[in-house]
Subunit: 402 residues, 2 copies
């Protein structure tokens, strides 16, 4: 009989540690599953403050959140908080991907606790999240999505593991390296799935989120965000004696922006921001919108662009019809029938009427003109405005020269 | 012998529940206290990513954070996350105030977990925070600061409970009602202590933070933020069958803004924003700066204004001297010796040189002109710009007419 290998022994230890964590959580008071979200205002209802979004006129059908499956790729500083926010919001199903372990060095960010050091991140996260909200279905995959075999499995999960065994509704990319971002980008281009990219700079004081709709907005391969295109080799971050800075504030804010925009997209309220930056030193929030690159090196991106063009031509024709219809409707209904009312801070707000009117009649603006306008309407900076009108080729060559 | 009263029995139950929670946490692996913050990059160092802020050129002396005492008033949706972020950043001492209990209805926001339902918020928070970072000293006060006796005690804590038994360095107000905000305002005006006010709207999709320096910026009684000055009686929020909406995203983002600006203030980096708003529907971030009201009804505010005017006259005289000196220095040193370098997103950033030059020579701009300029320099909206130039009296009468 041969001796067990070190990796076999480590695997055994890992299993015991997980069982121990499971036992500890079992000894804590568990809340029972709730079959139907209720708006009843009692202290024992974990959904009362979320269902109140309906009464406040913000979300039409909050309970729809139970139908959606969201993947969170990378459950580190941004991804773990992202997963916790979605769990507390009562998302239908969460799928977690990571292959890292919890370390004490992660304790300067929210979510993980010191006693979890040594556990796999996805498994530790799954246990904590299920304890917080047992109504959420959680799947965890403890592997690196960039290897050939795992990438195929990853693609398969994204395209078949929704609550109705179809493609999932949204992927949130919260990884810290270029390769994993490229893997998510290629999978979503090929599967034609919408996703959000996110990132935090290695000096910890800036970050961004970016919404990518294959064929409609610039994909990650068309134009990687400036943050990633800096001239620093990301692989150097894990060298001995060198580490990037991070702050719970910046990572929590980026996770907040990510989930807030994911909720707006899934539950159809407000306006989803295509690119939102955060500069912590100045509290400066650049927004922009980039068109896809017609010569993108990902053939699936180019294919999606062609499909999008055809859809747009169709939509433009329909839009003309609906605008005709709208002229009649305006006489019949009050102008702001479903207008979102903000009872406070009213003085600060730009006019919402235009967007709401569109919402009422179901008209969506045609890309690219209107999406650019929406994104830049309340833009903080002339520079960002300028940015979005620079041709992509110029921007790329600018990046390469950095 | 008389029967125990219901409140005595409840008090006994509360004690047992806390002991139970304490026992549970004891059974979890505890991390040992760390006497000195180290920048060593090993997985077991919980401060490596924070101390890296020094190497990245963001913070000059991160370890100074251990000298500061911060009070968090209200440890609900915003306050609990605020306290957790400060704890993970390794703040010297935290003082928590609240008199509420954890309920399942709070589970739609970060921090508390279902098994803590029934515990007092400050005591549950203290246990969790000490488990997360045993290096932070934590004091918890389970009372309502607005009653006469408690207010006196509150004032006494703020003025004597710092690590050196003097006034604490900063107070973060995270309460959900007008009365408690007024109590913090009066205490800080009388004690001449700087503080941040914060708030989230009852429809859950907007929020703000505001930095208040008695005598220098508008206090809460000079001009309550618009959010609070809406025509809705806040007391109605707790009526049976009625509750305000809330989201973990908005509250996490506001907590992030609050702690980020608190860190900038305490550790002297970046630019502290005087007022930062957040509109989630549009990802719109108004900033503004309001001067104090000379006829403020709080006599201590008026007193601080007079003191500030005298200090400003003195500072202006000194500034002239330093500017003379600067002319010589500029020849001796490179212009951007301590300039904060952002290796990425450089394209998005406004010119930092002006502010950094001031930082190098220790010159601070004279209020009000420069503070207004700084706050509005990267302002998202013309409306907000307009706002800050409206005389306070007009604004107040506008609010009253709402």
């Amino acid at each position: 009989m041969s001796e067990p290998t070190i990796s076999e022994l480590k695997e055994q230890i890992r299993k015991y540690e997980l069982q121990l964590e499971q036992e500890k959580l079992k000894n804590m008071k568990q809340r029972e599953k709730i079959t139907k979200m209720s708006a009843e205002v009692v202290d024992s209802n974990p959904y009362s403050r979320l269902m109140a979004l309906k009464r406040m006129g913000i979300v039409e059908n909050y309970e729809n959140i139970r139908n959606f499956t969201v993947a969170v790729v990378g459950v580190g500083g941004v991804g773990s908080v992202t997963a916790e926010m979605l769990t507390r919001c009562g998302i239908g199903k969460l799928i977690l991907f990571d292959y890292d372990k919890v370390e004490l060095a992660n304790m300067n960010r929210l979510f993980y606790q010191p006693h979890q050091a040594g556990l796999s991140k996805v498994e530790a996260a799954k246990l904590t999240l299920q304890h917080i909200n047992p109504d959420v279905e959680i799947e965890a995959y403890n592997y690196n999505i960039t290897t050939v075999d795992n990438f195929d499995h990853f693609m398969n999960v994204l395209s078949t593991r929704s609550l109705s065994n179809g493609p999932i509704e949204l992927t949130l990319c919260c990884v810290d390296n270029f390769e994993a971002r490229m893997a998510v980008n290629r999978a979503c281009n090929e599967l034609n799935l919408n996703w959000f990219e996110s990132g935090v700079s290695e000096n910890a004081v800036s970050g961004h989120i970016q919404f990518i709709k294959p064929g409609e907005t610039s994909c990650f391969e068309c134009a990687p965000p400036l943050i990633v295109a800096s001239n620093i080799d990301e692989k150097t971050l894990k060298r001995d004696g060198v580490c990037a800075a991070s702050l719970p504030t910046t990572m929590g804010i980026v996770a907040g922006f990510l989930v807030q925009n994911a909720l707006k997209y899934l539950l159809n309220f407000g306006q989803v921001t295509k690119y939102l930056g955060y500069n912590a030193l100045l509290d400066y929030f650049p927004t922009m919108s980039l068109k896809p690159n017609e010569t993108c090196s990902d053939p699936f991106c180019v294919k999606r662009q062609q499909e999008f063009k055809l859809r747009e031509e169709q939509r433009l024709r329909e839009q003309v019809d609906v605008v005709e219809e709208e002229k009649v409707e305006e006489v019949l209904h009050p102008d702001n029938e479903f207008q979102i009312e903000l009872c406070d801070e009213g003085e600060d707000l730009p006019d919402l009427t235009k967007n709401d009117k569109n919402k009422n009649t179901g008209v969506k603006h045609a890309f690219p003109a209107s999406v650019e306008n929406q994104a830049n309407e309340h833009d903080a900076s002339n520079e960002a405005n300028e940015m979005s009108s620079i041709p992509l080729e110029d921007l790329m060559s600018k990046l390469k020269n950095l």
